[in-house]
């Protein structure tokens, strides 16, 4: 019987941070945009569509966080429970030429690193929500500004995309995914 429980715990923490932190960011961002949307709708109910599109933009960080968490859970095998993690740790030990205990620790720490990357990057949704709120006001007044405001709003998301990218590269680089 191996002792890999530290690794499992760390992997769970990684998945948790990934979703949790990203959800904070996305939730606040969507909230900020939504408040501006409600204001625009109060003046003209036809602005609902515009408001909805802009409000949806900060949501993507939440999706990235969710994706990150699922990828971590697949990569470390904890989607298949304790046995799944043990099996993955054994495979990992074979690949890295180390003991399963060490492999489990590596996997757990990789999961925490990956979770931090996409999770914290998800806080960029707050900034995106602020821009989205301004854009809703701008587009309500001047519908021609839609494209430009869209670009301004998407800017913040670049960092969330990079956060997700790094998470994926960590998981792939340490052969948790893809191998």
């Amino acid at each position: 019987m191996l002792d890999v429980s530290t690794g499992v715990a760390l992997a769970a923490v990684g998945a948790g941070i990934s979703m949790g932190a990203a959800a904070i960011g996305a939730g606040i961002g969507v909230g900020i945009a939504g408040a501006a949307g409600a204001g625009a709708i109060a003046e003209d109910p036809n602005k609902f569509g515009t408001a909805l599109v802009f409000q949806a933009l900060p949501q993507t960080q939440g999706i990235y966080g969710f994706l990150g968490a699922v990828l971590i859970m697949i990569g470390t095998g904890i989607l298949g429970g304790f046995a799944g993690f043990e099996a993955a740790a054994n495979t990992m030990a074979g690949l890295a030429g180390t003991t399963p205990e060490n492999a489990a620790l590596i996997m757990g720490l990789a999961a925490v690193g990956g979770g931090l990357s996409v999770g914290l990057a998800g806080l960029s949704a707050i900034g995106q929500g602020i821009t989205a709120a301004g854009s809703i006001g701008a587009v309500s007044k001047e519908p021609g500004a839609f494209g430009k405001c869209m670009v301004l709003t998407v800017m913040s998301e670049t960092f969330a995309v990079f956060g997700l990218l790094i998470t994926i590269l960590i998981l792939v680089g340490l052969k948790l995914l893809g191998a």
Binding site: Y64, L79, G147, V151, T158, V161, L165, L169
Partner: protein
């Protein structure tokens, strides 16, 4: 685009403007702004606006008033959002006569007179009925409170000596009211009350008329609400039924009036709409004159005209004015002049113009980047959605919009074509990477024929990353090449080398270093850096990091591509997990599957669209494109309803 100047005799002004309005190719500009020199100012004066404009505006307002009234009584059916998108009703077409000028204005007056004659009487009656109904329903509401009060309302009157009031007050105040009343009137009064609810009582008060002011004042202060029962008789319940009959008869009268007006609307609405449109066209025709300048006998106009239309317009002008006109055309001065831009793209590409215009239409001497944007946008979207089934859904949506709303609306047609195109691109990329609802086809259905053809994005992530970065490099370099060519053509050599050419040197140098040709590579890199340092000064370092950032930004294609596949995979896992639930498992699984995939398709479709646009606007256009040209808006007849 050519600059057009026309001088003609004033007596041909109206026919000439009418003809130009019909041809619809001249973009009018204000002559006054180009004729600022004192010499011109002595010769010319501003053209006054036509007095008929005011009359037309007044007529249009009267038309609007009647049409609004018609719409409020019998609204025209309107398509809802989905009907408009997928199966819109055909636009209305009204045949109209060819009338213009004074005849049109006289016709409008006559029409207004005719409509007014038939509509006035039912309208006024309808207003009376509606206001009486309002009064009656208020009366019914207050009478309902004292429905069970046993009193003959005919007795509730004010005579020379006696004043009788009826109303309601809070229950706990009844005693107070009674004692106050006898105090004021020295006992010469009567009060009867009956509880009508948990909180209120109905009260009948009789007092001498001479004290009525004091009585009603103190009653009001004690919370007594008077109910007006003038003209009613019998018990409140009887009065209510009389009122009910009256309301019913008024309601039926209102109904018949409304249907009468609806019939009138059916007869007259089309005529009014057609006439209003003709009036608006006429106003357009006259409004344009304020751009002109004039002398005693002539007027001068200026505008822009596409080079291909110049000869036909010249011929028309001379024909209409019987030769009493001078038409001159000049080439525009590049630079200070704000030259309108007329975009011409081949049939399929043309629909992507809307994406270029969202950023800004090209300036006059600038290349229109739509021909590059269309294929690259399709490719990027395909990589970001990476799923054949999602691609089919996208293309189906596009085709439905195209065959529905696209029939009558140009912008819906544009988006229909764009959605279909990017849907097809997604299908191709989905087949290449084996994405069918994520890993559904392969893992759950076991169809090995649908395996990835080039690579599996979830497995060969490094390969995918390199692929998207290479695509990014190619895309950026195409932009740089375009910018380089444009700058050379405009003879802006400094920009050509400082904005674009140095990057070719730098990239070439890095490439040579990588294949071990170190000395040539190092020299090229040095040349590149020196070039940019010379042109852009000490901040050139940020040009280098900025370019690196631009290339890395294309990594979003990978991230979003994996996000689509990853979430699709998650939906499949969730769906197979709930399938284990006894009895309703299969239904739950189907529900999770359908809702999950539609959500993923919608969110990542939006993401792919937005990020595809962003890569163009921020990374690509930045290399060569500014935009900000003004739209070519020819002076032409804008017809929506009528057909002559």
């Amino acid at each position: 685009m050519r600059r057009l100047h026309i001088v003609a005799l004033s007596k041909y002004k109206y026919p000439l403007m009418k003809r130009l309005h019909e041809i619809g190719v001249v973009h009018m500009t204000d002559v006054g702004r180009t004729m600022e020199s004192p010499e011109w100012a002595q010769l010319l004066e501003n053209h006054p606006s036509d007095p008929a404009i005011r009359q037309i505006t007044a007529q249009v307002m009267s038309f609007n008033k009647i049409l609004d009234f018609f719409d409020s009584v019998s609204p025209l059916p309107e398509d809802n959002f989905f009907k408009m998108l997928f199966s819109p009703s055909p636009p209305k077409v009204i045949e109209s006569e060819k009338v213009y000028g004074t005849k049109l204005l006289e016709g409008a007056d006559a029409l207004l007179g005719n409509v007014d004659a038939v509509v006035r009487e039912p309208t006024e009656r309808l207003n009376q009925v509606t206001s009486e109904l309002g009064e009656l329903s208020a009366k019914v509401e207050s009478l309902e409170k004292i429905r069970d009060f046993r009193v003959d309302l005919a007795d509730v009157v004010k005579t020379d000596h006696l004043n009788v009031l009826i109303g309601v007050s809070p229950r706990e105040r009844v005693g107070e009211i009674s004692s106050k009343l006898s105090e004021i009137t020295d006992g010469v009064s009567y009060i009867g009350s009956q509880d009508i609810s948990q909180t209120e009582s109905a009260i009948l008060v009789a007092a001498l008329s001479e004290a009525s002011k004091d009585v009603s004042d103190s009653l009001r202060r004690l919370g007594f609400e008077r109910i007006d029962v003038s003209g009613l008789s019998g018990t409140p319940a009887e009065a209510l039924s009389t009122l009910g009959e009256r309301i019913a008869s008024l309601n039926s009268e209102q109904e018949s009036l409304r249907s009468e007006i609806a019939k009138l609307a059916e007869i007259w609405r089309d005529k009014l709409l057609a006439h209003r449109e003709l009036l608006l066209i006429e106003r357009d025709r006259l409004d344009v004159e304020t751009n002109f300048m004039r002398t005693d006998e002539t007027f001068i106009l200026e505008g822009w005209i596409p080079a291909k239309s110049i000869n036909s317009v010249k011929d028309e002008v001379l024909k209409v004015t019987k030769g009493y006109a001078v038409v001159r055309e000049t080439n525009p001065n590049p630079g200070p002049e704000d030259i309108p831009v007329y975009l011409q793209n081949p049939p399929f590409i043309r629909h992507f113009q809307v994406l270029t215009e969202l950023f800004g239409r090209p300036k006059y001497n600038e290349i229109d980047p739509t021909f590059m944007l269309a294929p690259a946008f399709m490719l990027f979207f395909g990589i970001m959605l990476t799923d054949a089934v999602y691609g089919v859904m996208m293309a189906a949506l596009g085709l439905m919009v195209l065959r529905g709303g696209g029939k009558y609306s140009n912008s819906l047609k544009d988006f229909g074509v764009i959605f279909t195109a990017i849907g097809c691109a997604t299908i191709v990329f989905g087949i290449l990477t084996g994405g069918y609802f994520g890993d559904f086809a392969l893992r759950y259905l076991g169809i090995t024929a649908l395996s990835p053809i080039i690579f599996d994005p979830m497995v060969d992530v490094q390969l995918f990353l390199i692929l998207v970065l290479v695509i990014g490099l190619i895309h950026l370099n195409l932009g740089l090449l375009l910018g380089f060519k444009e700058n050379l053509q405009r003879k802006e050599y400094k920009d050509a080398f400082g904005d674009q050419f140095w990057l070719f040197c730098l990239q070439g140098g890095v490439a040579l270093l990588a294949v071990n040709m170190k000395s040539i590579g190092a020299v090229l890199i040095l040349v590149g850096v020196l070039l940019v340092a010379m042109v852009h000064g000490p901040l050139f370092f940020f040009d280098i990091t900025g370019y690196l950032g631009d290339v890395l930004s294309y990594a979003r294609l990978l991230a979003l591509g994996l996000a689509t596949g990853g979430i699709a995979m998650t939906v499949n896992i969730l769906s197979s997990m709930v399938e284990g639930v006894p009895i309703i498992g299969i239904v739950l699984a189907a529900l999770v599957f359908v809702v999950g995939h539609i959500f993923n398709w919608g969110m990542n479709g939006l993401g792919g669209f937005v990020h595809g646009i962003r890569l163009h606007y921020v990374e690509f256009f930045n290399k060569f494109y500014e935009g900000g040209g003004s739209e070519y808006r020819p002076y032409r007849i804008r017809r929506e309803l009528t057909r002559e």
